[in-house]
């Protein structure tokens, strides 16, 4: 009965019990040790009874009996120890493997999928959800096996002793089964909701930490506290509701069990009085029922664990069943020249048009600037060119071949990208720059020197081995930006994308860096999103993007003749350029 209940409860999402079949050896031994430890436990009263019987006849206790008792006691100890150790190993193994499986799944996804699933939820999946499954393996498996064993055993004994009374007593099993089902169907959704509230809590905490600076500047701690209190309140309410169900389930189960005892006393008493049953059978019945009731209560407690783990397993399965992105590309980019062509590229995000019908060609080894006002779609265009997101329509080719035809790994080895926002990891500077891990020392040094990081690194007591704090809080904006550039350059890329790289680097350093890039990476195809016309005047091509459309393309001189928008933009920066010119 309990087994079918478990199946029914798990069926809506995922069956946690199916997990066990993947760990057959563990499961078999775990069940075996549980049976042995519990079975041997049943022998103890018999040995004691035998001891007393022999003693009352002979006034002595035979040595053999002492040995037998010691062996049984030692056996129980060994098997229950083995069972406990094994369930620790089994549960942790399952948890570890599931985590790795999830991590592998996550690692195959596109960035957009990760953002859709949201890091907060994935964190809950990897921690709290897997914990619930771990508890299931550690507690529920052995608990259910031993309970089933006792229920079946005592049921058989009851049936043998007096089948009529036994049938009445065993009526409690379907009653308890129904109680389980009713409560489970309600509690299951609550457990899922409970995990979703944990996602919510994670998100609030996460944001309050990432935004800690802003919160302190705005003195908005109270607002954050209120946000958290809301999520926390919801967590407590869900917890209380779950508690409400279980605090009624447990008394229902024990009370139903007690009714069986009552039935024995009244009905059995009647049978004895009528002479249909001996007093001995009556007494035996009573003790068998007490064996029957304990495991039923046990299953009541375990049901909590099972319901929670089933909810969590469902959430994990949902992530594991996310389809992998199709990456059919096989083309090697090892000999990439760096010619890039966009044909009628459009991008829609939901109902919003981000890019409209963009077409242009970037020759290998040339420098192209992408300029335009805020929210024109520059960063999105860059993401398309790098292949981070696919265009809604149109095509983007590298050396005449579509991005999708390339093997991703091979392509990303030849394409460097510096994002607008700085991303640094809590690792050493060397590891941060050598993020691709297969970079020669020479390439590393060249990248550092090009990014004008040498003197900064030299100024640090531990140099390249200095560990950067999480989110790079120990670095200035410009230092992080240069680190990002060094990381991209260390790949020795054929194509380099810079997204507003110069925004955080001072003029002098910027000049030096751009000169260094030209010197050290002469054949590179450079695509640079920027605000400053002054720094890209001598570029081979300038693309002017406005409201998702490329409204002008050409060299600086050409645009000054053809494009009123470009001229307007140029004029707006002229006052600045004057200083720049003066320093040439």
């Amino acid at each position: 009965m309990p087994k079918t209940t478990a199946h029914q409860l798990a069926s809506p999402q995922a069956n946690v019990f199916a997990l066990l079949s993947r760990y057959r050896t563990y499961s078999i031994f775990l069940i075996l040790f549980t049976i042995l430890a519990n079975g041997l436990g049943l022998l103890v009263p018999r040995v004691i009874a035998a001891g007393i019987d022999t003693f009352s006849l002979t006034q002595t206790v035979p040595n053999s009996l002492i040995w037998e008792a010691s062996a049984i006691i030692a056996g129980i100890f060994v098997f229950s120890f083995a069972q406990n150790v094994l369930q620790t190993f089994a549960s942790e193994r399952v948890a570890r493997d599931l985590r790795n499986e999830l991590a592998a799944k996550i690692s195959r996804q596109d960035n957009s999928t990760i953002e859709k699933l949201t890091p907060a939820v994935l964190l809950t999946n990897l921690t709290s959800d897997i914990d619930a499954i771990k508890t299931f393996i550690a507690q529920a498996v052995a608990g259910i096996v031993s309970s089933l064993l006792l229920i079946i055993g005592s049921s058989i004994l009851l049936l043998i002793t007096d089948w009529k009374l036994a049938l009445v007593v065993l009526l409690i099993i379907p009653i308890i089964g129904i109680a389980f089902r009713v409560i489970f169907s309600r509690v299951q959704t609550l457990f899922i909701k409970g995990q979703e509230v944990i996602d919510w809590l994670n998100k609030v905490i996460n944001e309050s930490i990432l935004g800690s600076g802003l919160i302190r500047i705005l003195d908005s701690q109270n607002q954050e506290n209120n946000k958290f209190a809301q999520a926390n309140q919801a967590a407590t309410e869900t917890g209380m509701k779950i508690l409400g169900y279980f605090s009624s389930l447990i008394p229902i189960i024990t009370f139903t069990g007690s009714l069986a005892v009552l039935a024995i006393v009244v009905l059995g008493g009647n049978f004895v009085i009528n002479g249909e049953m001996t007093l001995g059978s009556f007494t035996a019945f009573n003790s068998y029922v007490s064996i029957l009731i304990f495991p039923i209560i046990m299953i009541g407690f375990m049901s909590n664990v099972i319901a929670r783990s089933a909810a969590s397993y469902g959430r994990i399965q949902a992530v594991l069943q996310t389809p992998d992105p199709i990456e059919a590309g096989t083309l090697s980019a090892d000999h990439l020249q760096g010619k890039i062509e966009a044909k009628n590229v459009s991008l829609l995000l939901g109902p919003k048009t981000i890019l409209k019908d963009a077409s242009f060609t970037i020759k290998a080894g040339t420098r192209t600037a992408l300029i335009g006002p805020t929210a024109a779609g520059k960063t999105q265009l860059l993401s398309l060119l790098v292949g981070l997101i696919p265009p809604t329509s149109g095509s983007i080719t590298f050396d005449g071949k579509k991005i999708s035809e390339y093997d991703r790994t091979s392509l990303f080895r030849r394409v460097g990208m510096v994002f607008q926002e700085s991303v640094v990891f809590n690792m050493t500077i060397r590891e941060n720059i050598n993020f691709s891990q297969d970079i020669s020392d020479e390439a590393l040094q060249k990248a550092i020197q090009t990014a004008e990081l040498s003197s900064f690194i030299e100024s640090l007591p531990k140099g390249l081995e200095t560990v950067i704090s999480e989110r790079g809080t120990s670095l200035s904006g410009g230092q992080k930006q240069r680190l990002m550039l060094a990381r991209a350059l260390a790949l020795n890329p054929q194509v380099l994308f810079l997204d507003d790289f110069t925004a955080r680097v001072d003029l002098k350093t910027e000049r030096k860096i751009l000169k260094n890039v030209q010197q050290n990476y002469p054949d590179i195809t450079l695509i640079s999103v920027t605000q400053k016309i002054a720094s890209v005047q001598d570029y081979d091509q300038i693309l002017l993007l406005m409201e998702g459309e490329i409204i002008a393309k050409g060299t600086h001189q050409q645009l000054l003749q053809d494009s009123p928008e470009y001229i307007q933009m140029y004029e707006s920066q002229k006052s600045t350029s004057q200083y720049e010119v003066s320093t040439e």
Binding site: Q59, F89, P119, F228, P251, V261, D506
Partner: protein, 595 residues
């Protein structure tokens, strides 16, 4: 006091070592305030436990009585009466059981609520330095995972613990009264258990502390990788995530195994003790019988009574581990709760006489992060009300640090910062933040709509409807900026500002700061990713701000600072007046970068 060395206590790094020296009692004592307001519920649960246990003990007695008095005398009416009594007892037991679970579970849930709140509120009270020294994932783990360990003990363990203790003590007394000598023999293994448990507890707690730490580490790794997933994909390092994760996962696995084994050792040992006790009683009892001090019948029942004592003890074995896990979790929680901000508002110091026009002054300020070398060294300057100041200089020169000191994100290591002549440390955070607006270099958005982000933390306009907000924006001359949000202000954004460009995020930060009408507005490269034409718009808006508003602009792009009344050049921890923009340019091009 101005020159006195103020020790910077930025040691907010949460420890990575175990502090298991504290006694159980100490932990419970430090913990009690969190439970105090739930005294009534605790007492209620205790009463339910006692009543439930009594009902459970009473049942068998009634049955025994029924057998002797009614069944053997073939009195069915009596049997029915006894059945009625039993029914009452069972109903009472069920009610008691309901209250046990619900009261104690509620205590656990409310405790969980209180703990989470306390930690979160504590986090909010700590300065920025704390967040720079600790990892997001580990903090999340402390707030969610560690508190849940305490909840588990309280909602599940404590009731069972209490009811088992009750049964155990009752059984022990019964055993001793029934036959003192046998009683001592029966309880002897329990005494051994008691000392063994004492001895093993430290180890169990330590193993669990290590495991909880590993969970925190794993959580930190997951957070960092997932937040930066875009970079991971572009740099072909999906394996990086897998490898780093599998490393922390493995570490977590190892420590969890140690903790699991530690948690499970007591159970078989308690079982063993229980079986040994039965045998001891049996053989000692037989010896007593030989001496004529005991009857066989009594021995038979005595052996079964021994179980009444050891069954609850075996339950306690697993609860005790839950308790140790909870203690280990509490240590990690208490560590946060025990932290104190070293940036409290000091009592108002005597107001230095300041000229009416003076807004902010740096008085021989030095600053160093942690114990490192000075980022700023002995800096003094004054900002006059209503003027515009530019701070320029190479990257890593200390500009952002100056801005952070102005807005008291940090306190100076030496010297002081004066706002309107008053030490900034003695000004309440509310007043300070009202007067000082700081647009951070890296904009941050909360998940919510653009409109909500604009009004975030704004007490005056916080409750505005989108329509009203648009009107207010127009009043502030900000309406033109809305064109940069072609899809309106109701668009939802994620915490990393997905689907908004960095320039748009900077605009939101700008609007947010302007709407607060600060006396001092600091822009730290706040428009770096905004195109020059929009930037001109911002300049116009800034120019139209109240005459009282002092502006501090940190930039290396010079078009943003053309209109500055004064330019400061910041390099290698020093600040000097640059005079003209041209001079600043020269300095920037000629001076060697400090870093």
């Amino acid at each position: 006091m101005s020159r006195k060395r103020v020790p910077v206590n930025m040691k907010y790094q949460l420890s990575n070592t175990t502090s298991s020296s504290d006694s159980v009692l100490g932990a419970v004592r430090s913990f009690w305030p969190l439970l105090r307001h739930q005294r009534a519920q605790l007492v209620g649960a205790l009463v339910a436990v006692v009543l439930g246990s009594l009902a459970n003990l009473l049942g068998p007695l009634v049955i025994g009585y029924t057998v002797d008095q009614f069944i053997e005398t073939r009195n069915f009416g009596g049997v029915l009466q006894a059945g009625g009594v039993l029914l009452v007892i069972y109903i009472a037991a069920a009610i008691a059981s309901y209250f046990q679970t619900s009261l104690m579970g509620a205590v656990g849930q409310r405790l969980l609520f209180t703990l989470r709140s306390e930690i979160f509120v504590k986090l909010q009270s700590l300065p920025l330095a704390f967040f720079q020294q600790n990892k997001v994932g580990d903090l999340i783990s402390r707030i969610n995972n560690d508190t849940d360990k305490l909840n588990q003990f309280f909602s599940q363990g404590l009731v069972q613990f209490m009811s088992n203790m009750f049964l155990m003590v009752g059984a022990a007394i019964f055993l001793l009264i029934l036959n003192p000598r046998l009683g001592v023999a029966a309880l002897l293994p329990a005494v051994v258990l008691f000392f063994l448990t004492q001895f093993l507890s430290a180890w169990i707690k330590q193993a669990n502390a290590k495991s909880l730490r590993a969970v925190g580490g794993m959580s930190a790794e997951v957070s960092e990788s997932l937040e930066n997933f875009k970079l991971i994909t572009v740099f072909n390092r999906r394996d990086y995530f897998r490898d780093r994760f599998s490393e922390v996962n493995e570490a977590n696995y190892q420590s969890a195994i140690s903790a699991g084994i530690a948690n499970n050792t007591l159970i078989p040992i308690y079982g063993l003790a229980s079986n040994i006790a039965q045998c001891v009683v049996l053989f000692y009892g037989l010896m007593l019988i030989l001496q004529g001090n005991l009857s066989i019948g009594l021995l038979v029942s005595y052996v079964s009574y021994v179980n009444r004592f050891y069954d609850p003890i075996r339950q306690v074995a697993s609860i005790w581990s839950t308790f140790q896990v909870a203690l280990a979790g509490w240590d990690r929680i208490a560590e946060i709760l025990g932290l104190h901000s070293d940036m409290e508002v000091t009592s108002t110091s005597a107001k230095t006489v300041a000229k009416k026009t003076e807004l902010l002054r740096f008085d021989h300020v030095s600053f160093a992060y942690d114990q490192g070398k000075d980022v700023l060294h002995d800096i003094s300057f004054t900002l006059q009300a209503g003027k515009t100041y530019a701070f320029v200089g190479p990257t890593g020169g200390g500009k952002t640090t100056i801005a952070s000191l102005m807005s008291r994100l940090f306190d100076p290591t030496k010297g002081r910062v004066l706002l309107e002549g008053q030490d900034i440390r003695s000004i309440s955070s509310q007043t300070r933040t009202q007067k000082i607006g700081f647009i951070l270099q890296e904009p941050f958005l909360f998940s919510g709509t653009i409109g909500e982000n604009i009004l975030y933390g704004n007490k005056e306009f916080g409750q505005l409807s989108p329509k009203e907000l648009e009107k207010v924006l127009a009043d502030f001359g900000l309406a033109d900026l809305l064109k940069r949000f072609p899809h309106g202000l109701d668009v939802t954004v994620g915490s990393k500002g997905q689907s908004l460009s960095l320039g748009q995020q900077q605009l939101i930060a700008f609007i947010r700061a302007v709407l607060r009408k600060p006396r001092l507005l600091i822009l730290d490269e706040a428009t770096a990713n905004i195109d020059t034409m929009t930037e001109q718009l911002l300049d116009e808006i800034l120019a139209k701000l109240s005459k009282e508003t002092t502006k501090v602009i940190i930039a290396h792009r010079f078009n943003t600072i053309e209109n500055a009344d004064e330019i400061f050049f910041v390099n290698a921890g020093q600040v000097k007046k640059a005079g003209s923009l041209k001079h600043a340019m020269e300095l920037l091009l000629k001076e060697k970068r400090g870093s």
